[in-house]
Amino acid sequence: MDRKKYEDEKKIYFDALSGCGCQDIEYTTVSGEEVKELYTPDDIEGFDYNEELGFPGQYPYTRGVYPNMYRGRFWTQRQFAGFGTPKDTNGRYHYLLDHGQTGLSVAFDLPTIMGYDSDHKRSEGEVGRCGVAIDSLKDMEILFDGIDPGTITTSMTINAPASIMLAFYLCVGERKGTAFEKMGGTIQNDILKEYIAQKSWIFPPEESMRIITDILAFCSNHVPKWNTISISGYHIREAGSTAIQELAFTLADGFAYVEAGIAVGLDVDKFAPRLSFFFNSHLDFFEEIVKYRAARRIWAKRMKEKYGAKDPKSLLLRFHTQTAGCTLTAQQPENNIVRTAFQGMSAVLGGTQSLHTNSMDETLALPSEKAVRIALRTQQIIAHETGVINTIDPLAGSYFIEAKTTEMEEAAEEYFRRIDKLGGVVKAIDRGFFQREIQKSAYEYQKAVEAGRKVIVGVNRFGLENEEIDITLLSIDEEVEKHQKKAVQEVRETRDNDKVSRELECLRAAAEGTGNLIPVIIDCARCYCTEGEIIDTLKGVFGEYKEPLFI
């Protein structure tokens, strides 16, 4: 390049620019990060392609985890679904599979997530509302009726009781003749982000971490194709964090799991390849793409340099993405289709391995069938019509994208230092570090919206007077709760209750000891112990976590 010419032209340009007017808009990302009017070669001075990018499928994997990316195969179109009884949801799964979906993703109801059976007092009014109610292996059998766990992969959004839902699922496969080794899928199982953001905890952190390392050990030996933790930034973002916080806190959680695994004597290369990630795709198109690229680079570097991983698979940050639920508006809900399309597109340009696109009506109720179909079609349009899949990592080399990727990496590193100073993730949770940081960001964003510095179409600008909501909503029949209560009581009446007591006693003893809990939980599952019974037994030994207050 002719350096002199470059400097001359640059000067002319910036003189001209300062002579032009500028709209009175705050030019920041949705996270409040400054963005310049123009990025130039100056912004990536000293940029080393080999160090910072590498080729796709090569260290540090900034450009993607596989050499062929979407030319090999598209991302998995995985719509999160679950509501009502296991039978209701089973119907929805067949519908989605018939419409071309390629993997299943189970949404559980809150009693299941919190470890209560459907007939527990605390479950009142909640059964089957936010997802499907699963009380025992019986329900899991109904949920996968006519579906072969040997041929599809299933993702389960479950954390505190993840071990139990995994056990139920493995038993379903077992009964259909699929060996544990052949079964593939994911449990979210990311308890740290529960204390940080999502707040569906049951046991205290230390005990929860023990269950998680038991799962890591068990799966690496017996269910090698299972993704054992889906380390989730999604909920951290939904709770109001910025993109940088989502990235930094999620990766910090990931490293904490790696350290926990190493601490109990597991070989990092034996369990790290089965760790995967789950990110949010928010409104700011480029900021999100930058986030995914920075995430891959940080993970690969740290896994190699700090944790000594040798297997290249341990270095790969594979991730699922969901478009941001918190960006959907109740006003003019059809606009959400457009938001979701852009968010889905940025996840694809960021190299996601699987994607859930939200339905337009989710701020009003659980999604209706039509809304779910449009959301799925949105992914299919991105994949088949827009052409963005033709080349791999098309944005690489952009001055803007590369400068921002490095900036985001540095900001995350700064957070890691702060977390280390507090004594690590669990200690930082204890002190409310993450919780406070997120709360502060959430309140700042709310104030920016209310002051009109951030525009939300249809909410603080371009609203409609007397808007009528014109979409059909899905409502959950109150019969669901009655039905599910009866079903779990029937299970308790018809099983071998002596065996149940014996197995639960074994579980209690195992929890008091140091052995691996998972085989014992599988034994409990096989004889139809309910989720609530298993959780209560563990609570008796482990105690319960109480909500701390950080304001």
């Binding site: 809150l110 009693p111 997530i113 919190m114 209560y116 007092k121 605390r122 479950s123 009142e124 009014g125 909640e126 509302r129 936010c130 529960e194 999502q198 707040k199 569906s200 939904e238 709770a239 109001g240 918190c326 959907l328 508006t329 109740a330 006003q331 989710e362 701020t363 009003l364 109720a365 659980l366 709360q439 959430a442 309140y443 709310q446 919206v449 209310e450 939300i456 909410v459 603080n460 909501i469 909503l473 409502s475 959950i476 909500e547 207050l549 304001i551």
Partner: protein, 132 residues
Amino acid sequence: MARKVRVLIAKPGLDGHDRGAKVVANALKDAGMEIIYTGLHQTPEMIAESAVQEDVDVVGLSILSGAHMTMFPRVMELMKEKGAEHIVVFGGGIIPPEDMDKLKEIGVARIFGPGTNTGDIVTFLRERFPEE
């Protein structure tokens, strides 16, 4: 000393989405009100008893789990039993329009959906409870 508006903000039910509840609590505090925050996973019994003991003027419930048609009526019923039917109840969260109408019928003063400006909540409370 002037009368202060006392507000109880609670999250009934099992979901842990407290972003909205906390943002509202902060905004009301910044507007000069006294906020009693009871946190997550509250049963209707806990909420009603707290509201009564704290003699609040108003209770704000945040529900995103879909259990609103169970939680609101139960809290109101219990407060009535305890002789505190004068306490105003409002809510926020993911609540379908037809349920909003039903909740208004049983006496819920207002439901604020997603996208609500916190200023609107402050105005609503100020109009109901002018500080002397």
